[in-house]
Amino acid sequence: MERPQKSKRRLLADIGKLEKPMNLEIADLENGITKITLSGRLDVEGALKIDGEFNAIAERSKKVLVDLSDVTFIASLGIRTLITGAKATANNGGKMVLLDPQPNVEKVLRTSRVDTVMPITHDSAAIASVFGA
């Protein structure tokens, strides 16, 4: 008897592997802005993976732009990572700004009122003004 074919999604679920593990990339932009691009799921596993590097960047930068456009999910521990980083940047006299979160991720951020302590913007052309440059 021929065994039924499993979908890729089902196979991934069976072996407990998420399709997009968390990833972090850094780039220096104009006006002294450090851009951190996150991609994947900012869940418990994702937050633990990037915590150290994210905070190290946040501590040494004064203008931190966090691109969330490729983040597909965020949990409270992911928010904790963002808040801890934003506090580190603020302690250094700086500011952290969140860029272009997907609608569901933005709903989590606004439900938790993250937007009251760090700006969320979808206008990448106006980043400098958000930082007050």
């Binding site: 979908s7 999604r9 089902r10 991934l12 679920a13 407990g16 592997k17 998420l18 399709e19 799921r41 869940d43 418990v44 596993e45 633990l48 999910f73 949990a75 409270s76 521990l77 928010i79 904790r80 808040i83 801890t84 934003a86 506090k87 603020a90 569901n104 989590v108 439900t111 938790s112 009122r113 993250v114 009251t116 302590v117 760090m118």
Partner: protein, 153 residues
């Protein structure tokens, strides 16, 4: 082809280790069920939020070295049972664990309500669960806790 929600209820059930890997495995599994049911993205996302936060609470606080809960055996094995049921007008997700008692339905939620310099990171999960679930019920079981989360159409 997606399952028809108009048919008789469908059930999915699995048991996961009370660990970070267990949370990731459960998230993938529930995502595959949402895909199979062709749920709206917002509903699938809400299920993911509640699953992640509930399991995260169990893994982080379900066992405590200072006050071990007797239902966890000598190897300190924490396990989490997840059952997803698809009904005509809603999805229910039942999460049972053998950890220390914790009534998530009665626990107060927290949001960020202070300036950044005063905010203590963390503790936002319960508010997220209550915000993304349409209904949340808790009961004690002989071996631990049962939480039933509902997501209506």
């Amino acid at each position: 082809m997606p399952l028809s929600r108009r048919r008789s209820p469908h059930h999915w059930h699995r048991i996961f280790n009370g660990s970070i890997l267990g949370i990731s495995s459960a998230a993938s599994w529930v995502e595959s069920i949402a895909s199979e049911l062709d749920l709206p993205a917002s509903q699938a996302f809400a299920m993911q939020v509640c699953l992640e936060e509930l399991m995260s609470n169990i893994v982080r606080y379900g066992r405590s070295p200072s006050t071990p809960w007797p239902q966890i055996d000598s190897k300190n094995t924490l396990s989490i049972s997840v059952t997803v049921t698809s009904l005509a007008d809603r999805i229910t997700m039942t999460i049972e664990d053998n950890g220390r008692p914790f009534d998530v339905a009665q626990a107060p939620g927290k949001v960020i309500d202070e300036p950044l310099c005063k905010v203590q990171p963390g503790g936002l999960g319960i508010h997220l669960i209550k915000s993304f679930a349409d209904n949340l019920t808790y009961s004690r079981t002989k071996t631990g806790n049962r939480v039933i989360v509902e997501f209506t159409d």
